[in-house]
């Protein structure tokens, strides 16, 4: 995945982005499910950060909707089992279960949006380097990059096999069930063979088992400022009841 086009937060160190995202997730997910009002305030982060990364928030929101079925599957039982009355609205009693259900949906979408934002802004190679510099074992950092690169090799081989099969199948598009095992096994063997050749070529060019990604990664003042701006905001949203504060202010006015 390509990093976001040059944007206001496009130059931020991926470690800073990762740190801010983790703190955001911890702060938001630690809010009790019954405090939907507190969870909603956390939407400020993706809403503000998305335009700064040159991404329309609507697009980010749409992209995050893929997680909705899982959230609904887990959360839908809460209104059934938790029937403690929370409040009445136009004469209809709203149960605590519905409140927690809505909370699960909102925090699930916000968590996905934060992750999508992180991926879009930092890019995969930079994120692997960030993970390595944050103490992730070299074996797994190299493995991440290897899987990512060999995916295209696998897809190429699959397409070649598919074309070859189409060329000799006289218009038949479907596979017999018994052919799937040999097809997939053959695909695996072909890809393994090709990966061995690639590995030998890499070794001949000095590959020693470690892939370098982005050696010019430096922590700058901008990264510190980025963390110092967002992290206190997340802590404030977690520990200060902003809704109650605003209601009190309105009452005074």
């Amino acid at each position: 995945m390509k990093p976001a086009e040059r944007s206001h937060i496009g130059d931020i160190d991926p470690r800073a982005l990762l740190l801010v995202t983790v703190v955001y997730l911890v702060a938001m997910l630690s809010v009790p499910l019954q405090r939907t009002d507190m969870i909603i305030w956390f939407a400020a982060y993706p809403i503000i950060s998305a335009p700064l990364a040159h991404i329309a928030y609507e697009r980010l929101f749409r992209n995050s909707l893929f997680v909705l079925p899982l959230l609904v599957f887990i959360g839908i039982f809460n209104p059934i089992y938790d029937r403690t009355p929370a409040f009445a609205l136009f004469g209809i009693t709203i149960n605590s279960g519905w409140i927690s259900f809505i909370s699960i949906i909102i925090r699930g979408l916000l968590a996905t949006q934060a992750l999508l934002l992180l991926i879009r802004v930092s890019g995969f190679n930079e994120m692997c380097e960030a993970l390595h510099r944050l103490g992730c074992p070299g074996a797994i950092a190299t493995q991440l990059l290897m899987v990512y690169r060999y995916l295209s090799v696998l897809l190429e081989e699959a397409l070649t096999m598919q074309h070859a099969r189409q060329a000799r199948s006289y218009g038949k598009n479907s596979f017999k069930a018994s052919l799937w095992g040999p097809f997939v096994g053959q695909l695996l063997l072909r890809t393994i063979e090709r990966s061995r050749r690639i590995n030998m070529a890499m070794k001949a060019r000095g590959f020693n088992g470690t892939l370098s990604t982005s050696p010019n990664m430096h922590w700058t003042t901008a990264d510190t400022v980025y963390c110092l701006v967002w992290i206190p905001v997340f802590f404030s949203l977690r520990f200060i009841d902003v809704s109650a504060l605003l209601l009190t202010l309105f009452a005074y006015c």
Partner: protein
């Protein structure tokens, strides 16, 4: 597992265990004496990653699932290298497709990678298949190991969600939902794994993992040397676990005292809460509702403002680039 389904405490706990296992696995992988282990891990990871993208429907349930691939990876790479590979697949799914969640990564690694590579493979697959390349042994081992891995993983998801306090669903009912679905997914994964492994065993048996390719001092080497006496016990354990899993699933499905009972209860008028007068408008909890409404209004305003600014900046950028071209 998604981020929304775990509490920070559970995420931290499972994350710490997963990180420890990754550190151990990384040191074990260094001991493997196999020249082509790096490209093989890369290719197998890419293969499983692609396979996980394919969702198949489960007849009669209305749901779908995808394979995990841990048993297949372990049978080719060995348990520790397979664990690292599967972890990398899960991390890529998280960091490329935002699938799974960052905080839930520890849970996902334990539920999928640890159960299939470090539990099901050494305790179920190896004792059943042994060093034999007979198709029926590979098939039986693949199906048994895949089912056990999926069932333990499903139980893990249930436990983690319950401990996080996310769902109000009772544990037994939640298990009654999760186990039958994952039994079906496990059986399908087992058949798919067996098909690939039987092909490899027939045409390229040297591709399959052998304990002797690892360092003799590693735990896999010791496991192989002691497997003679241990094997009947482990086979017995595997069969007992399968029977238990099947029986538990059947019992869970046959006694729907959870959901159906609850739905019946929900539809009953007598059980409706009567604590709040029907005519009252937010008598005790109006401030909470007002807080929700207020937060939504502010967020909508924030979104509107940032969208307007975003479009203006983009238009200005486009205008300037057009002028530059002219």
């Amino acid at each position: 597992m998604a981020d929304a389904l775990v509490s920070p405490a559970i995420a931290a706990g499972t994350g710490a265990i997963a990180a420890t296992l990754i550190a151990v696995a990384a040191s074990k992988v260094k001991q493997i004496r196999r020249d082509d282990i790096i490209p093989l891990m890369g290719v197998m990871g890419a293969f499983v990653f692609a396979a996980q993208m394919i969702n198949f429907s489960i007849p009669g349930t209305g749901s779908s699932g995808h394979i995990i691939g841990g048993v297949l990876l372990s049978a080719v790479l060995g348990p520790w290298a397979a664990f690292i590979t599967l972890c990398s697949v899960l991390i890529i799914q998280c960091l490329v497709f935002a699938d799974g969640g960052l905080l839930a990564l520890g849970c996902n690694i334990l539920n999928m990678a640890a159960t299939s590579c470090l539990i099901a493979y050494p305790l179920i697959y190896r004792p059943i298949s042994g060093t034999s390349l007979k198709p029926w042994r590979i098939t039986a081992a693949s199906i048994a190991a895949s089912i056990i891995a999926l069932e333990i993983g499903a139980a893990g998801v249930t436990l983690e969600t319950e401990l996080s306090g996310i769902t109000a669903l009772p544990t037994s009912t939640f298990l009654a939902f999760m186990l039958p679905i994952h039994l079906a997914i496990g059986a399908i994964e087992g058949v798919a794994t067996a098909a690939v492994l039987c092909f490899l065993a027939k045409y390229r048996p040297e591709t399959l993992y052998s304990d002797y390719t690892a360092d003799e001092s590693s735990c896999t080497g010791r496991f192989a040397s002691g497997s003679g006496r241990l094997r009947p016990v482990l086979i017995g354990f595997a069969i007992a676990t399968l029977i238990f899993a099947g029986a538990f699933t059947w019992l869970a499905s046959a006694n729907p005292d959870g959901l159906e009972w609850s739905i019946e209860k929900v539809s009953g008028i007598s059980d409706m809460p009567s604590a709040t007068p029907a005519t009252a408008f937010m008598p005790d909890y109006d401030s909470r509702f007002a807080g929700i409404v207020g937060a939504i209004i502010v967020m909508v305003m924030l979104w509107a403002i940032t969208t307007i600014i975003f479009h203006r900046v983009r238009n200005a950028h486009q205008n300037s680039s057009t002028k530059g071209k002219e």
